[in-house]
């Protein structure tokens, strides 16, 4: 893990100043999955927005995948994929766990977490992509920092607005996309 990180960091520094944004994205995309440090036990946390939530509310109208292998309410901070999310949940804006709301654009680059799927017991590498250019964020705000690191390691930081390579960098909300199953931990 440590070696891999060191490698990643050298790569990042090497690439950053001689590649275009676009190619940098793909490079990052490739490395991030590997470079991610992997918290295994999601611990649900949320801010005021959650405590204000209302069982009869449209703000967090429940959104379900319908797939028993992907259980839980995708508009709740407790949904298994959100173990390292920081931001507004797109399912509250007309999107879903993995789709941006209409009228927004998904940034191709992202930060990475690893979350345990309670249904199949597997750990998945989750890509947190920001959706950009829609309305100002504020609804369904969740903050869970498992595996979050200071911005010096940007690929593991959730304070950065990850709106790159999109028309508008104004932040709207965040989705949690499955990249694949996490490599077994030593």
């Amino acid at each position: 893990m440590a070696d891999l990180d060191r490698f990643t960091e050298r790569m990042l520094r090497g690439f950053a100043h001689r590649t275009s944004r676009r190619s940098l994205f793909s490079v990052l995309g490739g490395m991030l999955a590997g470079a991610a440090s992997l918290p295994l036990l999601p611990l649900a946390r949320a801010d005021g927005a959650t405590s204000a939530a209302d069982p009869n509310s449209g703000e967090r109208a429940p959104v379900y995948s319908g797939n028993p292998q992907d259980p839980g309410n995708q508009s709740s901070c407790d949904y298994w994929r959100y173990c390292a999310i920081d931001g507004s949940i797109c399912a509250c804006y007309g999107g879903s766990a993995h789709a941006c709301p209409p009228g927004t654009e998904m940034s191709p680059i992202c930060w990475i977490g690893t979350c345990r799927n309670p249904a199949d017991g597997r750990n998945y590498i989750v890509s947190y992509n920001d959706c950009c250019g829609g309305i100002l964020w504020g609804r369904c705000n969740c903050q869970r920092n498992d595996g979050d690191r200071p911005v010096v390691r940007p690929q593991n930081n959730n304070e950065i607005t990850w709106c790159f390579g999109v028309k508008s960098q104004s932040y709207t909300c965040t989705v949690a996309i499955i990249l694949g199953v996490a490599p077994k931990q030593k």
Partner: protein
């Protein structure tokens, strides 16, 4: 909250570890597949009649499904200042009129109409409005209207000199500007034209040609008693006749079918006894109708000077043909704005504080309640046709 979530999460994990360390994986032989990047949700070109546009009066305009218990938000479009909405019946696009400044709250002002694609909510067109004169007023009816079979858009301007900017919504261009000194808001009249309420208590009607130029106008006699019993400017259309109500509880129908508006005889909403009990119309978007003959009015008891914009406890339903009240609906929460959906079996939608209550208009039974995150002043409700 945190303690609670932490506990549940922890027990879930224990569950996973103890009850099915391998079992789970066996139950699902294959892992979930990788998902697509990017992936952006889309909407149908024609929205269901269970959906409504909610104008949060300058924060956002939200498309909400009130016709199902899913209660889901379908999408939002941005709103910066006094933003108003126009939704055509037969084109897969809609329009907002808005105002921005080049440095957030200062700098160069731009008034503009945005054309949104129903399916993607992407801005597919823009019409910049000249003169930095668009009226900045809490979003209300009469600020942005159709005429000419929804080919033209009319934007109300107030500087405080009043005028109307005429826009070709299909060609996406500004056609003209018509001065209406001393008059306020826009009420479409005739095939191509509009009427407006004037500070002398009259209604002025303006007829437009195909280029948006004024080619005729007519003014009614004074009928609007601005001091003590003025018309609320909210109104609803039934068979080409626009129904207004007054602060003291009279109905004022105005026939908008021909180029020049005709003021029809008014009639009272309230009996002498109800008047004595100070029953009055009250609220913001305080009128609704089925478009055929039923008129819905938000009504408040013990009304007095200063309560005219307060939320009201009841909705009274009138048959405008017989001018009689046919129903009285008691609301579970006082309502500020109301609307009827255009579904075959219409729903009565009531903004009540930061909740949106959905009733059966026939029985007055509460069907469901949604919340309105971020709501803080007033709301316009526009059901999908």
């Amino acid at each position: 909250m945190r303690a609670f979530s932490a506990t549940t999460a922890a027990s879930a994990i224990l569950g996973a570890l103890i009850c099915r360390p391998l079992g789970a994986a066996q139950r699902f032989a294959d892992p979930l597949p990788p998902e697509t990047i990017p992936d952006v949700a889309t909407l149908p070109a024609k929205y269901p009649t269970g959906w409504v546009f909610l104008d949060y009066a300058s924060e956002r305009i939200e498309i909400r499904n009130v016709g199902s218990d899913a209660r889901t938000v379908k999408g939002d479009v941005q709103a910066r200042d006094s933003t108003t909405l126009l939704v055509p019946d037969d084109r897969p696009e809609f329009y907002t009129a808005d105002t921005v400044w080049s440095r957030y709250t200062r700098g160069t002002r731009t008034d503009y109409i945005t054309v949104y694609d129903n399916r993607t909510l992407d801005p597919i067109g823009e019409i910049v409005l000249p003169g930095a004169k668009r009226a900045l007023i809490t979003a209300m009816q009469g600020m942005f209207e159709f005429t000419d079979h929804q080919h033209m858009g009319l934007v109300f301007n107030f500087t405080p000199a009043s005028s109307v900017t005429v826009v070709d919504l299909l060609a996406r261009k500004v056609l003209s500007s018509v001065d209406i000194p001393g008059c306020m808001l826009i009420f479409p009249s005739g095939e191509r034209g509009f009427s407006t309420l004037c500070s002398s208590g009259t209604m002025l009607s303006v007829k437009l040609d195909a280029h948006g130029r004024a080619i005729g106008h007519a003014e009614t006699k004074p009928f609007n008693h601005l001091g003590h019993n003025p018309l609320f400017t909210a109104s609803t259309l039934i068979g080409g006749v626009r129904y207004f109500v007054t602060m003291r509880g009279d109905v004022q129908p105005i026939d908008m079918r021909s180029a020049y508006a005709k003021v029809l005889p008014g009639w009272p909403l309230v009996s002498a006894a109800e008047k004595a009990a100070h029953w009055r119309p009250s609220g913001w978007q305080l009128l609704a109708s089925d478009g055929i003959r039923d008129l819905y009015v938000l009504m408040q008891s013990h009304a007095h000077e200063g309560t005219q914009k307060d939320a009201a406890n009841e909705i009274w339903v009138y048959d405008v043909a017989t001018r009689t009240r046919i129903r009285r609906l008691r609301l579970v929460r006082p309502g500020g704005s109301i609307a009827l959906t255009h579904a075959k079996k219409p729903l009565l939608v009531v903004q009540a504080g930061d909740r949106l209550d959905v009733y059966d208009p026939a029985t007055g039974a509460l069907i469901r309640s949604l919340n309105l995150p971020g709501f803080h002043t007033r709301m316009l409700i526009q059901p999908v046709r």
